[in-house]
């Protein structure tokens, strides 16, 4: 009953025709920003701030508008992933794996609608989870010390074996490239620069967005110049746009599981939305097995990561609101925004400022439903992108990428790095080396090393500390039993067949 009255308070604050209009507007702008490579939720919010001012909004309306932009950007990231094989932002990375093959097969509309639905499921369920359990769930963060986080990252990398179906050594090389890049910059523990070769631009390390846009957008341009447009999604005749109810219904369990996995990953401050979508995809892939056809353009392959990353985005609000710890880059932006509104999240926020919390939750729900309602009409607009001729579209994508990356730091250095990543991506694509592990390595490498070193500081270098808690042991067990062992077992099982060939 408490819950209902709280929720009513929230909607009482956040729902009015005016705020609804703002939500529609915010969702639209957010979706577009999310879809543009290199521009993500943080740009979205930066763009929204002057807008709130010129509209003269009060705190509540500002909150509604900013959550709408935030969720819009989370939804929007998938669009360029599916249509052009270019993730709009890092959590949308995994959606390229099946979304783009679907687009190539003329099912871009289906992929967008299915993933839109899955996004809704993930975001909705995680908002409900946030509503019911936030103060309780916040306690989970207290259970995760350095050893537990290290085990979690090990689990993430263990699942990578399944990403390259034919040659695991190449997936390993790709992860090493990413991890190696993550080591560049000032070392947190000693304060000494590492592998920067004295270059000031490298002191803060290499931004993963530079790598994503380079490895995907710029590589795509090179591939296009090479192939003159054969075997791409552009110019493919699209199926007539219908809502694929069957696929949505068939992926219901995938969406639910993906939401759960994503939500849990989101709650852990060290994991974040990208890990949520990644783990959701990889676990569904291993559940479906070889016959599932993951990676060839199946509905489950777009439903899982989108449910995962949107659920993680909601889950990440749990530690952000209750502990003041932003679980990901995007929640850090929201945290900064709350602080501009003079709201300091922390353990007392739920009791001290219930109107803020429930207003925020109501805003999230509003944004979510608005996005779902806008989804189908907007998909109709977005799939038109594919009918733009390549000689307009690709230069356009390149220039947008340049502006997006340039807006990060205003330095030409990042742009050069991005081009270098583009070249690297093209070579690796030729050699059938997956690029997703590179991004994962860059995203998690620093955290992984930090947690290992923190664990060793606390234990005086005793390695058994890594296996000293139930959670850590559990994560190690899942990593080894679930992902590493099958890799070797598969070989054993396959060998006799190879002989009979």
């Amino acid at each position: 009953m408490d819950l209902l009255s709280n929720l009513a308070t929230g909607f009482g604050i956040a729902l009015s025709p005016y705020t609804l209009m703002l939500a529609v507007f915010g969702c639209f702008i957010g979706t577009i920003i999310g879809a543009l490579p290199g521009l993500g939720p943080s740009n979205g919010v930066a763009i929204l701030i002057p807008l709130t001012f010129s509209l003269g909004l009060d705190a509540t309306s500002a909150l509604v508008l900013m959550t709408a932009v935030y969720y819009g950007a989370m939804y929007g990231g998938r669009i360029s992933s599916i249509l052009l094989n270019i993730p709009g932002d890092e959590p949308a990375l995994m959606t390229t794996l099946d979304g783009y093959p679907m687009a190539k097969a003329g099912r871009a509309g289906d992929a967008l609608i299915i993933s839109g639905f899955a996004s809704f499921t993930g975001a909705f369920l995680s908002t409900v989870g946030l509503m019911l359990l936030a103060p309780l769930l916040a306690r989970i963060a207290f259970q995760f010390g350095p050893a537990e986080y290290f085990a979690l990252y090990i689990l993430a990398f263990a699942t990578l074996g399944g990403i390259a179906s034919n040659n695991q050594a190449k997936a390993a090389i790709a992860s090493c490239i990413g991890l190696g890049i993550a080591m560049i910059g000032v070392d947190n523990n000693s304060g000494m620069p590492r592998l920067t070769f004295g270059n000031m631009h490298l002191f803060d390390g290499i931004d993963f967005l530079v790598a994503i846009v380079g490895l995907f957008a710029i590589t795509e341009v090179f591939s296009f110049i090479e192939s003159h447009g054969k075997n791409t999604s552009i110019g493919i005749t699209l199926d007539k746009l219908k809502v694929p109810w069957r696929d949505i219904w068939n992926t219901r369990w995938v969406q639910l599981r993906g939401s759960l996995v994503g939500f849990i990953a989101g709650i852990l401050p060290g994991a974040g939305a990208s890990l949520g979508s990644f783990l959701a995809y990889m676990s569904e892939k291993s559940i479906a097995g070889e016959k599932g056809g993951f990676g060839t353009g199946v509905a489950k392959g777009v439903a899982a990561p989108e449910a995962g990353n949107n659920a993680a985005a909601g889950g990440a609000l749990v530690p952000m609101l209750t502990l003041g710890v932003p679980g990901s880059g995007t929640t850090a932006v929201l945290l900064a925004l709350l602080m501009t509104l003079n709201i300091t999240p922390g353990p007392t926020l739920f009791t001290d400022r219930p109107e803020v919390v429930w207003g925020l939750i109501a805003s999230l729900l509003i944004a979510n439903f608005v996005l779902l309602a806008m989804n189908v009409p907007m998909v109709k607009v977005f799939v038109r992108v594919l009918s733009v001729p390549a000689w307009v579209l690709l230069p356009g994508v390149t220039m947008i990428s340049f502006v997006g990356i340039y807006s990060l730091s205003g330095s030409y250095f990042d742009l050069l790095l991005m081009v270098a990543f583009g070249v690297l991506g093209w070579v690796l694509r030729k050699l059938d080396v997956p690029t997703v592990p590179i991004i994962l390595g860059i995203l998690l490498g620093g955290h992984m090393e930090d947690s290992l070193r923190r664990a060793m500081v606390l234990s005086d270098g005793d390695w058994t500390y890594l296996f000293s808690s139930k959670i850590a042991i559990g994560l190690w067990a899942v990593a080894i039993a679930g992902f590493v062992a099958p890799l070797f077992l598969r070989k054993f099982l396959k060998k006799p067949q190879a002989v009979s060939d």
């Binding site: 947190n188 002191f203 606390l458």
Partner: protein, 321 residues
């Protein structure tokens, strides 16, 4: 009131995003939006305009990189005579200068205008910790140096790390290198690790612990100021517990070295006017800052003193050679 503040803050932001404001002064925040330096620029810039100390609103530029090093280098090498430029600074700036982390740049290559507020340093433990006072903690460290680990929001050798080391050193514990410290991503994260029992104490700033104090998750053993902080009178200072350590994270500004004395004095006056304004007092209260006003030419002496203290200590503990 909240509404008014929001609008005013956003006014600061819109100006930060547009590059067309030709005549206005610029404040560089050497970090991404949302951090302490960003707060300094936006608040000070906004209040200066509100109270009429400057004619047009101050434009905020975020220049993140190398922990402020990128902005410092930029000011020294490219903007050395720019009279319309102010840069946000804090204890982190002086700590890094002292440890030579800005690629050879030194504190006298810019002019520090002043500080107008400070975030008091604190040492906290989990609510269920066996340590009741700062001395309990110190004695335990003395007995088993390897058993007590600190968590803080800055990297190893950073300001949060130096605070417990100063305390232990002043208490006569010579081998401070044996003290365990892990640097995590911000104060809230450090508290999480401490409440979770992975580390025994947290070192950070007052603003980082306010919510956790209220919720009863943590207990503050000491605040590192001369006197107890208004609003938190129940927390004893380290000084009154017999440990003579004062460490506050001040918030202030520097300007380029090449500006005239007139320009410097003008900025000092404007900053003093901000410090005296009711609006700033309110902003400080909302963000857990304690009054700490040192503006004008004396401030450079304070900075020099702090830099040489930290350099000496950093050498002793081996953060720098």
């Amino acid at each position: 009131m909240t509404e008014f503040r929001l609008k005013a803050l956003i006014a600061g932001a819109i100006i930060g995003l547009s590059s067309s404001a030709a005549m206005s002064a610029e404040c560089i925040a050497p970090a991404n939006p949302g951090g302490g330096w960003d707060f300094t620029c936006r608040q000070i810039g906004k209040i200066m305009h509100d109270i009429g100390a400057v004619d047009s609103p101050i434009q905020v530029t975020n220049m993140a990189g190398a922990g402020g090093g990128l902005a410092f280098t930029h000011v020294v090498t490219e903007r050395n005579t720019d009279a319309d430029l102010i840069v946000a600074a804090s204890s982190a700036t002086t700590t890094r200068l002292a440890q030579n982390a800005y690629a050879g740049m030194t504190a006298d290559q810019v002019r520090f205008v002043g500080a107008i507020g400070a975030d008091p340093g604190v040492i906290v433990v989990a609510a269920n910790s066996k340590y009741q006072s700062l001395n309990d903690l110190i004695e335990d460290v003395r007995a088993n140096p390897g058993q007590v680990a600190f968590a803080g929001g800055s990297a190893v050798g950073g300001f949060d790390h130096i605070k417990p080391l100063m305390i232990l050193q002043r208490s006569g514990i010579s081998d401070v290198r044996a003290i365990k410290y892990i640097g995590v991503d911000g104060g809230a994260d450090a508290i999480t690790q401490t409440v979770g029992g992975f580390t025994q104490a947290m070192t950070g700033d007052m603003s980082e612990i306010v919510g956790f104090l209220k919720s009863g998750d943590v207990r503050a053993l000491a605040v590192l100021t001369d006197e107890r902080v208004p609003g938190f009178e129940s927390i004893p200072t380290a000084v009154e517990q017999g440990v003579d350590v004062v460490a506050v994270n001040w918030r202030g500004l520097y300007v380029p070295k090449g500006v005239s004395d007139d320009v410097f004095n003008q900025w000092a006056e404007r900053l003093q006017a901000v410090a005296d304004s009711a609006e700033w007092k309110e902003a400080m209260a909302a963000n857990g800052l304690a009054p700490f006003t040192k503006v004008g030419s004396n401030f450079q002496n304070y900075i020099d003193g702090v830099v040489s203290d930290i350099r000496k200590l950093s050498k002793e503990i081996g953060v720098i050679q």
